[in-house]
Symmetry: C2
Subunit: 317 residues, 2 copies
């Protein structure tokens, strides 16, 4: 028995109405050569083309735009070394409010620059969860800024769910949709939207085999923590939250995994044949298909390409 | 006084009608961050998403589909180490005829594989122009295949011109369009289409500073040969032909150049901000803008991203 309030289709539709004017409607791409390889009709939802290069901008902008003027006046805060930090910084700039980002001091230079470039005030901390949390608390105590967690946040999950809503408007029904699972915001939002629309499409989460905490949680019914493994899919190292675990348990159909080599091969396949840049986290679903973890033969299957932020100097292949 | 027959708008429209069912209608993309950098409204025509990853498929498919059944029965032939070879091979496969490709034996493995993958019969030769030409002649003597030159070919130029026709259907009028210039097929086809439509848009060719034979030919009115320089924009090392020189002299407004470093920076900018993969030849126009060779302030400017075939293992930045 849970007392957590789960989002509904209506919540996601409200989020969509709220953020539609500020997000990109991202294209759905196909690739004849890849379809031939798998004997399937694969549709790639290109959130790598979303603002800040990742779906995270959907949730961040929904959270930032949902603040009252009074709350907003004090700014927003979060801790993140990645796409969520950039998304919050840009969403705040677009609303004309301040953002305070706590970043581990070992974050990649390119990410520090991106976040600074969006006008965020950055506080660096040691690269531990404890340091991140205590530093963030100090920033919030000082500023009164509203904390927007990257996925353990109702508004954020609703924002991520708008991707699936948009998709159904674009291409109608399909047999299956695969979303990467890190903190579970995208997968949870997607499952809420698809099941809320009454579609029979299977909603599948995909995560690295060596970071399969979500699959284990899903199968055992008990939320387990991050496995702290250095998967190349760096966006998927986190564990689910109580909120996203509850949603995924309730609404997702399965969670599959993929090995590191398959993730790298899938990334290369997309770069080479589709000529678009995706990050490792984005292709775990395709990697699972390559490993025959999912039967897609003859099916119309959507893969959400969640982001495209990657160190261009050293692609992993 | 020239006796060369130049293509007209009508020829390009016929080409478009002929190939529309087999080519991709490529998207036109924009990037807010890049527009902000230059204070311009830049539109990127994404031929990197064309079949075989380059605009070359337009000209190749027009040439292959223009053959009579009798001619086609003997197959098509060309010599090329790059995108044109792949384009001819695929166009031939789609028509169900044979293709014979002469490739220098030092061609990149990835290109040999791509051409072989489309079912072409490859004959390797020494990497000199003379060896390519004599080997091709031997292949043609033996097979009776029709030779489709990569740019010194009326049908090929008409096919390349369909890119601009399609573009005008997509986004209407604009102030300027920039096409890379290697052999001049794309630039010549573009100029023919734009001027033939009666648009006042400037048509600008762009080539590497260290391979500026087209600019020199354009300015002096005398066709000069390739400068044989190792520009990173490997698709633009060739010189114009009599045909493309005549078209460009007649219809293009200017040819600008860009340095090697700017070409690399422009390529990186597109990969990083737009999340799409383009080859160096595709970004020479953007590189010229970065070097202030063109004033685009406040203007609606199209840049044709001509292709996306590049060695992913070692991007040049």
């Amino acid at each position: 028995m849970t007392s957590i309030k789960l989002p509904t289709l209506d919540d996601i539709q409200q989020a969509h109405a709220r953020i539609r004017g500020v997000i990109h409607e991202t294209p759905v791409m196909t690739c004849g050569a890849i379809n031939e390889m798998f004997g399937a009709d694969l549709r790639f939802k290109c959130e790598n083309f979303q603002k800040v290069g990742a779906f995270k901008f959907r949730g961040a902008s929904n959270a930032v735009l949902s603040l009252s003027d009074e709350e907003a006046a004090k700014g927003v805060a979060t801790h993140s070394s990645g796409n969520h930090a950039a998304a919050i910084a840009l969403a705040a700039r677009m609303r004309g409010i301040e953002s305070f980002i706590v970043m581990p001091d070992n974050s990649p230079e390119v990410k520090k620059k991106a976040v600074a470039g969006y006008g965020a005030k950055i506080t660096f901390c040691k690269p531990t969860l404890k340091a991140r949390e205590t530093t963030l608390q100090a920033v919030i105590d000082e500023t009164g800024a509203a904390f927007v967690h990257p996925y353990d946040n109702f508004r954020v999950v609703c924002g991520q769910g708008t991707c699936a809503l948009e998709l159904v408007e674009q291409i109608g029904a399909f047999d299956m949709i695969i979303a990467p699972v890190g903190g579970g915001g995208l997968c949870g939002g997607t499952a809420t939207a698809i099941k809320g629309l009454g579609l029979s499409s299977k909603v599948i989460g995909a995560e690295p085999e060596i970071a399969d905490d979500a699959r284990e949680s899903f199968l055992t019914g008990r939320l387990i923590g991050s496995k702290n493994t250095p998967t190349i899919a760096d966006g998927l190292r986190t564990s689910l939250s109580e909120l996203t675990f509850a949603i995924i348990t309730d609404k997702a159909d399965d969670i599959v995994t993929a090995g590191e080599e398959a993730i790298i091969s899938a990334m290369r396949l997309i770069w080479e044949r589709m000529k678009i840049i995706v990050e490792p986290s984005a292709v775990v679903g395709l990697a699972a298909i390559m490993e025959n973890k999912l039967d897609v033969t003859g099916k119309k299957v959507v893969i959400i390409l969640s982001g495209g932020n990657v160190d261009l100097e050293k692609p992993p292949f």
